[in-house]
């Protein structure tokens, strides 16, 4: 599907989604409560078939966190980006590792560096950092007086 067709289809499926213009991919925001059902639709809906989650990241905007999911379809060769805004003080979102298995490690990484809690994740532990690490180093307010200087 072209980006135009994708956008029409997605607007029809998720009326509450808001789109962001001006990128290579179709970008849209969805509420955290809707994310799980939205993800299922994206994976299973004929014509969409987003069977490949190729990137999961988190962005700290200081006022809130944004989860960013890059999805692609190996059948139709189209891609989209889904963004979910999270409360920075208590970032919680449903896991999608039962839909895309690859999300398991990606979500552990996001938990490791940003402290996002993935509800129903089977094994939410630190991935890169040591188990006794305090804090989430990729957050903008992370403080490390030994290794970092304040800018």
């Amino acid at each position: 599907m072209t980006n135009e067709d994708l956008k029409n289809k997605l607007t029809e499926l998720f009326p509450s989604a808001t789109f962001e213009e001006g990128g290579e991919f179709i970008n849209f925001f969805i509420e955290p409560s809707q994310w799980k059902s939205c993800a299922k639709e994206l994976k299973e809906k004929a014509g969409l078939d987003f069977d490949y989650l190729f990137c999961v990241t988190c962005v700290d905007w200081k006022t809130h966190l944004t989860m960013v999911y890059h999805l692609s379809s190996t059948i139709h060769r189209h891609s989209i980006v889904v963004k979910v805004k999270l409360n920075r003080d208590q970032p919680e979102i449903d896991t999608v590792c039962d839909i895309w298995k690859t999300a398991e490690f990606h979500e552990r990484e996001a938990f490791d560096f940003f402290g996002v809690t993935f509800i129903n994740h089977p094994d939410l532990r630190r991935l890169f950092l040591t188990d006794d690490w305090v804090g989430f180093p990729l957050r903008k307010d992370y403080d490390d007086p030994i290794n970092m200087i304040k800018l």
Binding site: F128, P137, Y142, D144, N147, M148, I149, L151
Partner: protein, 181 residues
């Protein structure tokens, strides 16, 4: 002797010819000969942690070719290597690995810190929780190469500088050994 060019030894050899009755004798110091021999066959460890490693590979390949100076036998095990070229960023997680590799290398061993990351933590990564601000916090370094990444010629220059340093007995390893005598 000055007229007998066929008996002249190369300038790079640390010794002199003395004529005695019936033949000529080469006089030198054993330490100097050992250092001379070692400096011309230094086996580097196959070790690189980031983009400097690409430059290092290029120096190993046909275009720059460090085998011209005796560095061709890159070893995949530290037990057979003489020099470790720290080509890239050393992070806190990598530091114990680097220390172990260095400890596993047989004496005498030499260290080259290649590029800004190995010297000081690097231009992009120094202000983070994860990066070691210079490989010399972990192991002693003999030769530093500036650059990000350094040109292949710069690495060649560093390797030749290391040879000079070994010949003059001035590497950290040699100073340490002499100090223990």
């Amino acid at each position: 002797m000055e007229n007998e060019t066929n008996k002249k030894i190369p300038d790079s050899f640390p010794g002199e010819i003395y004529p005695v009755a019936g033949t000529d004798v080469v006089l030198t110091k054993l330490d100097d000969v050992i250092n001379w021999a070692r400096s011309n066959s230094i086996w580097p460890l196959t070790f690189a942690t980031s983009c400097c490693g690409i430059e290092m590979m290029s120096v190993a390949s046909a275009k720059y070719d460090f085998s011209r100076f005796g560095f061709e036998v890159a070893r995949a095990t530290p037990r057979q290597a003489d020099v470790i070229i720290i080509a890239g960023t050393i992070v806190n997680k990598m530091a114990p690995v680097l220390k172990r590799l260095y400890d596993q290398m047989a004496d005498p061993k030499y260290v080259i810190a290649m590029g800004a990351c190995a010297i000081s933590g690097g231009p992009f990564f120094y202000n983070t929780y994860s990066v070691v601000k210079g490989a010399d916090h972990v192991i002693p370094v003999d030769v530093y190469i500036a650059g990000c990444p350094p040109r292949p010629e710069a690495l060649l220059h560093a390797l030749i500088s290391l040879q000079h340093k070994i010949k003059s007995g001035a590497t950290r390893e040699q100073i340490k050994i002499d100090g223990n005598k």
